[in-house]
Amino acid sequence: MDRAFQRTRILTNHLLLPPPAQTACLTSNDCLNYSPPELSEKYAFDVNEMRRLMDGHDVEERDRLFGLIIQSKLFNPRVRGGKVFVSPDYNQSMEQQREMTWKRIEYLLERGVFRGWMTGEGEEMEMKRFACFEVLGIFDHSISIKLGVHFFLWGGAIQFFGTKHHHDKWLRDTENYMIKGCFSMTELGHGSNVRGIETVTTYDSNTGEFIINTPCESAQKYWIGGAAKHATHTIVFSQLNINGTNEGVHALIAQIRDADGNVCPNIRIADCGHKIGLNGVDNGRIWFDNVRVPRENLLNSVADVSPDGKYLSSIKDPDQRFAAFLSPLTAGRVNIAVNAVYQSKVGLSITVRYALTRRAFALKANEPEVLLLDYPSHQRRLLPLLAKIYAMSFGANYLKMLYVKRTPQSNKTIHVVSSSFKATFTWSNMQILQECREACGGQGLKTENRVGHLKAEHDVQSTFEGDNNILMQQVSKALFAEYMAAQKRNKVFKGLGLEHMNKPCPVIPSQLTSTTLRSSQFQMDALCLRERELLNRFVADVSQCQARGESKEHAFNTNYQLAEDLGKAFSDQAIFQTFVDAEATLAAGSLKDVLGMVRSLYALTCLEDVTYLRYGYLSVDNAAAVRREITKLCSELRPHALALVSSFGIPDAFLSPIAFNWIDANSWTSVQH
């Protein structure tokens, strides 16, 4: 080419082209490249089929809702590394976050998402509603709680404690958000011990009205979701005092704000203030000063007061009467348990994807650095947690089915299983998110990467709808009661998964081989053995205390360590059972094979628990064999890691920048744009 042309071209370039961007030298340098994990990892099974198994129901409904969220500016879409992510702006003030939560609810309301939630009925509708809560919970905890208070607590209380005229009057308006409900149970002085609350309601037969009072500061209603800003009505729990007799805790409806949002007379409301998470929910405190409500506002399915002031109840036993009042909390508890599993799915999806693209340290000089997930230690940190979430997904599906198919006979089972799963799932969620946060290194600390922030948002799960420790104690007490009942009547165990107690005690082989360790029969035996032995021991120790003249309650309190271990043993076994049942529905194939490995990893992780050595259910040698097998399973599951998290079915937009091209998401160009 001639010189003249070359010179012309150089001059043209000087004139026409902008100076090369500062980034040009950075992008052309191939120091570190992002390579999507999809390019190197292969799916050995159909991830869509796995997702259907895991989600269990309403996959299309879930995807529609995901789509509704992604398409609206209200859900704060942000572009990072060429991809759109939706997540609330947690840098907004508490006030702004609350406002946004409410606007999002209005958007979903307009699009008919809540249609049938209060006025419809049946298993199908209830399952669909659970699915929607799971999706909304993946977007943000606040919106899910704000809706949960309105529909499950306020709406649920009206459905369960109310009678026809309450249903006719309130359910449609609740579904359409003509009114906004909240649920005033907890007080400053009483949380888990609802029977001790101090708010008092009396009846004035002259006017046919109830009068609600907050007699002291410790009786102020506390943590009431929706009360600080938006709620117009509330369910009030109080001691019903009729003619000087305390009839125990009852629920009635009171209006707390008018249609314009002004607080009603004789009501005082204060804000609970800024929290470590969940700031999109307006938790408030309420005081009642001689608030009068019509007689019809008593939710009277369990008990009623006649116009002339006589207390009437079909349930004579106050204990049973009280238990009937706690039933809406069960739906909430199911919701929380399931939601916790989905949060872990978000955390694990992000963390595993990051571990498949982020490298650290080369084994030799001039070699490429090693992918995080190719380190056995990193596999050991994440893959057992992945297995746990698979197990808990099946547990969650079982729990939902148990709930929607409820009968008066299944109430006890629902209470025990929901308590145990709620505590187990929410505790493990916090553990998983913490591990994920650390496994993402510094990136885990950025709010936009979600994993770290989710911890703060979901910490409350171990407290609300029943403190986890107390729920687990209730599980042990229920098992104790089952044991005593079977013994007293000299009958076999039936229910709560205790049937294995009727069979001879399983024997653990003295030398555990790989084949044995991976057999579901052995895994089941080992889990049943621990539950059985701990229950026997718990009963023996409590009985011993009682024989010394201690009360049963005191004996439970002093044997708290055994109670905790027993509750955990029950949960692990019950969850494992649901895994085995889900696996049994599958035809032979790659999906079932991988799921079998996941099941083994879950079971062996349970067997690694300290109780097996503490009480000698496993020999030291066998415990070592379990540990070795876990390592092997981790390396065998490593090639399936991406497929396993992809099967969670969480759309890209609900993960975070480090789950995708984190180099581009952090490039200088992205700073300029």
Partner: protein, 383 residues
Amino acid sequence: MASSVSSQHDQILVEVNSSARILTLNRPKQLNALSLQMICRMLELFIAYEEDPNVKLVILKGKGRAFCTGGDVAAVVHDIRTGGWRAGANHFMKGYTLNYLMATYSKPQVSILNGIVMGGGNGASMHGRFRVATENALFAMPETAVGLFPDVGASYFFSRLPGFFGEYLGLTGARLGGAEMLACGLATHFVPSAKLSMLEAALYAVDSSDPEIISSIIDQYSEQPSLKEQSVYNRLDVIDRCFSQKTVEEILSALEREAVNGRDRWISATIQTLKKSSPTSLKISLRSIRVGRLQGVGPCLVREYRMVCHVLRGEFSKDFLEGYRAILVDKDKNPKWEPSKLELVTDTTVDRYFAKVIGEDWDDLKLPVRSKFNLPPYVIAKL
């Protein structure tokens, strides 16, 4: 320094201009409808250019008053009649493969949309990095009117438009001008046609594949056109309210509710358009866009290939042939759709369009493996 390496009769004209390659769709009488030959030629060229270090940029344009009006439906129907539906499906298989190549291309593609761009023409442009619209641009995906559905990856790029605008465009086949294309993101730039030759000259001088650099060059010739007051894009709130509904039936009733609230010719025209379209097409199109929203471009094309095979096979509905007859052959504009009503198209029927075709040695679309190139981030999502 420009050199032409093709004859005037070629359906794709190829020009070499330093680092740029200019491909011109050259079937002006047919408004540049894509023949199988054109698709295969473009596949060849795109594959070769990606390997060739001398090529930095590919420019795609159309000869005459159209950029491209889509696939050659007459040829597809002819092939079905002579060789069975599989012969027709071959057009789509090749076309979708080209769409995928463009969507994951490692070098920038600049499409100059100075005229009609419809159907498959959108497949040939929207997946590329830069779409330059002019005042002559006229966009539409009118497939539901002929018993098809928006394909060529439309379930990917429609589902990523703001709000529920994609559902609106896909179901109604509504037309957009250049300014509207820019506003909604279908076009990346708006350049008046008078400046096109200058823009092209500037692009020939580029010796880089850096999208930032190319973007800044196009920026220099770009304008920010204002939307007409009656533009559909100004009705985004109504569109969002109606087209976010769960089903086609609910979308229609939402539109009818809006029509009650105020007399509006646009709303009644929209309702009429929907009522005239194939009920089967409407339902599978809506599902396709909704599903596409959560999928990558590859899975979108694989799914659309399944769907189009079912459409061509005509097992559940023969609306495609009927639409072809009524709109393109007899031109009576009065197709007799079967099933004839929305309520007759059940969810189970719709499900079938998304399932694999059973038997006949059929296989899913096999997309080329693209891992060889370290794909730049914008290939994952361009819209």
